[in-house]
Symmetry: C2
Subunit: 169 residues, 2 copies
């Protein structure tokens, strides 16, 4: 079948924003090594568990972060997908080799704090907006499609597509 050109890079990342809806608290980690701002791993859910001991479930894609070295740069190792995760366990048991601190913090506190990085602060504001007014306001819309191989599925996340365009024939 015809398709748009598709390419793979191999240094993109996944980040997990774990929000406890029952308390409005979000899981915040402070790295031991500030220069190393992320850890290699298969999945956001698995890595959150390995690093913090918190079990969580993938809910949606919230954001894509792109590091921007010079105008038009779009190179390797410079993109993250930031996911919204829902915790199913709450007792932190964090990896002290990797983290200095790991704690549940009130979401509005993280959104307001000057110490947070701009990215963390902005994702916290996004989560606060969704927490107060509905996650449909912040989640990127998802549609599911069957893949070429039987039993496989694709999820496609994008802005809402009006009915008239979805059903175009």
């Amino acid at each position: 079948p015809s398709r748009l050109p598709v390419y793979a890079t191999h240094q993109l990342g996944v980040a997990g924003a774990v929000l406890d809806e029952s308390t409005g608290k979000v899981l915040v980690v402070q790295d031991r090594n500030r220069d190393c701002s992320f850890h290699l791993g298969d999945t956001a859910v698995r890595e959150v568990f390995e690093e913090t001991g918190i079990k969580s479930e993938f809910k949606s894609i919230l954001s894509v972060r792109q590091q921007h070295e010079h105008p038009g740069a779009f190179g390797k190792s410079d993109m993250y997908i930031i996911c919204r995760l829902e915790p199913s366990s709450f007792d932190i048991s964090f990896c002290q080799q990797e983290c200095l601190r790991c704690e549940w913090m009130a979401l509005d506190e993280v959104a307001r704090t000057k110490q947070a990085t701009p990215i963390t602060s902005n994702v916290a504001k996004l989560l606060l907006y969704g927490y107060r007014e509905g996650f449909d306001k912040i989640d990127i819309t998802m549609r599911e499609f069957p893949a070429v191989y039987p039993g496989l599925f694709y999820k496609l996340y994008h802005r809402e597509l009006p009915e008239s365009y979805r059903n175009i024939t």
Copy 2:
């Protein structure tokens, strides 16, 4: 500074949707090897050029594609970021080792055709919506932040955040 937990995988991909606004045509590629549905490469722009000879410029992130093998799966090599690219050259000179066919096709034709994969068809519908009603309807909103290292910048793509949340203190 405090931050949300961040992790990197290394098998995510980037796809380029190249739309010629002056004609409403989109660049469509048919692979020689259907099983190999993508090519390794640094950037969507560079790979589009190498494979098709078309020069283009990155405009925005349109969509994230996630392959979904079983419920809750969120593993390696299963995500693509689909970018909107604007062409600055139009003469195709495609790589015959990789492609069977490469051509400019009318966007509404791609959106309607039964031969396109569901992903291509859906991205074409999204592009058609943006082409007719404004790309602000389909682009994922972008904000730019200074990075920890001087001179570096981050771009963060996400749903629109209301002023009241953006300026929360």
